[in-house]
């Protein structure tokens, strides 16, 4: 082929890749601006302060109330509960995988955990309705299983794979010299794990937790199916709660476009977006810190 043609193709390809690349980035930026735009439209009608601190979410009442505090607290409550379950389990499993399990066992467990990550959330929600929800109700003596605790258990299951994978990477990234030093002064495997490896991998573990939190906050279908969705201010783990994601999922189909209620749901989405963004940024910060730490 002639050089001129080849160079032209090269130029054209470069242009094509650049254009698609920039276009994709523009579209993804568009998501952010769409949220912002609709949120601003909402804040023109409702004061941001009232939105954040209002304790009543009742958009179809007279007068309509747009206070997202109960939703925010519900989301936090369910996520907190999920983390209480998932963090110990996740760190334990990751430690087992990185320090105790043999090669063969690991090659079975790793894909198993990835499989757990890929179970669609609606399938987990379904099993909750049939099996876990009634189970939790009878164990805790409640009349029904549609409460925050139930949601927390499900979210724990869903965020576990993320936590395990990232924690394991962090634990395995701890230089062997650390462990060897610990063994040489007479510490056993457990003491080394608790006193040397885990502290050394702490930033990585924090990053794992953050990613797990992000997963739990954003999960929609399982909480929608499992938590009862009462919009009252949450009173505890045995009460029905309604998370931000569930609120969007419930109400979005039922609002006419460009009404205050419609904008309100985008405002919730914007808060949700900011929360996950914050969690991800913190997570990323710890990952980077951990990398530097390792390099040193």
């Amino acid at each position: 082929m002639k050089l001129a043609i080849r160079e032209k193709t090269d130029q054209a390809a470069k242009l094509l890749f650049r254009m698609t690349g920039l276009m994709v980035i523009a579209i993804l930026a568009g998501i952010f601006f769409m949220l912002l735009w609709n949120t601003v439209a909402f804040f023109l009608k409702i004061k941001p302060w009232d939105f954040i601190t209002g304790t009543q979410w009742n958009p179809s009442g007279t007068p309509a109330n747009y206070g997202m505090l109960p939703l925010l607290v519900s989301t936090s409550l369910v996520t907190l509960g999920a983390m209480c379950i998932a963090i110990p389990l996740g760190i334990g499993t990751a430690s087992f995988l990185s320090d105790y399990a043999g090669r063969k066992l690991k090659s079975v467990l790793k894909p198993a955990i990835e499989m757990l990550a890929s179970v669609p959330s609606v399938a987990i929600g379904f099993l909750d309705i049939v099996v876990l929800g009634p189970g939790i109700a009878s164990i805790t003596g409640q009349s029904n299983g549609l409460n925050a605790l139930n949601g927390a258990v499900l979210l724990a299951i869903m965020s576990l794979p993320t936590i395990i994978t990232v924690t394991q990477d962090a634990l395995e990234g701890v230089p062997n010299a650390y462990k060897e030093a610990s063994y040489s002064v007479g510490a056993n495997r457990w003491q080394t794990l608790i006193q040397v490896t885990i502290p050394a991998a702490a930033p990585g573990i924090l990053a794992a937790v953050m990613l797990g939190v992000g997963r739990a906050i954003g999960e929609t279908m399982t909480v929608l199916m499992a938590t009862g969705n009462a919009s009252a201010f949450p009173k505890g783990f045995f009460h029905s709660v309604r998370t931000m994601t569930a609120t969007i999922a419930i109400e979005m189909g039922e609002v006419p476009y460009q009404t205050t209620h419609y904008y309100a749901l985008f405002a919730i989405a914007a808060v949700l977006f900011l929360m996950t963004l914050l969690v991800n940024i913190v997570g990323e910060y710890f990952v980077n810190k951990y990398r530097k730490y390792q390099a040193a």
Partner: protein
Amino acid sequence: MMKYLLCLLIILLVSCSDAGKFIKVKGSDTEVNLAVSLAENFYKEHPDFSVAISGGGSGLGIASLLNGQTDIANSSRPLNAEEIMLLKTKGIPIRTVIFAEDATAFIVHKDFHLDSIDIATLTKVLNGQYKTWKPVTGQDMPISIYGRQSNSGTHSFISKKLKMEFSRDAKEMNGNAQIVEGIKHDRSGIGYVGAGYILNNGTEQPIKVLKIIAKPGSIAVSPLDIKAIAARRYYFQRPLYQFIPLTSWKKVSAFIDFEKSAAGQKIITTSGYYIILK
């Protein structure tokens, strides 16, 4: 490989169907299962039509109507003033069809101590004034209300009929069916569902349908009592609406005709709803 995918893409792109035979029906969880049965049997007579049904709630249907996303908006409540105004400002003329009658049933667990309830007590139970069943049945159990989301037609129908706002502690379930499921397992629960959700008169499930006493001293009426419904004696009975934008009227008229045919009417009654002769 790439060529193969490209072929698929082209097939996909070409496969936009004739919009004239495609009907979107949206809204009303109360009516959705009925609509499914109607669509299924309609297809047997008119295989060239494809009908897509989405449930969700009456609010979804009406919102889709306002957003121009539906050909038939099912609703278990009439349009409110704001919606009529919005339809006017958006310039969407509609036709209204009342195709069936529903009786909203209040259900409790099979072992519940009462068989009937009067309107005043029911109001106090639902608006959160009573926190436990003690003043009603004598049992010291907290009341758990199984309801629908605030955009549901049934939800607004009941709060209008009883002139009250629901307790904020009421659970908001995704659909009528989930309410029935909840009540089955919850001895302290009370919920409301469309009559179609009470299967086989409620005899096969561990639930009980409460009879309603409309006025002090009057007799308790069950929502499953066909004669009472026909005489409009049940307190919570209501027409089921279908709102159709005029622009879609031509293509959906075959479906509406089917609803009104003998076969359609039979499906409505076997699905647990009522037909009221005017």
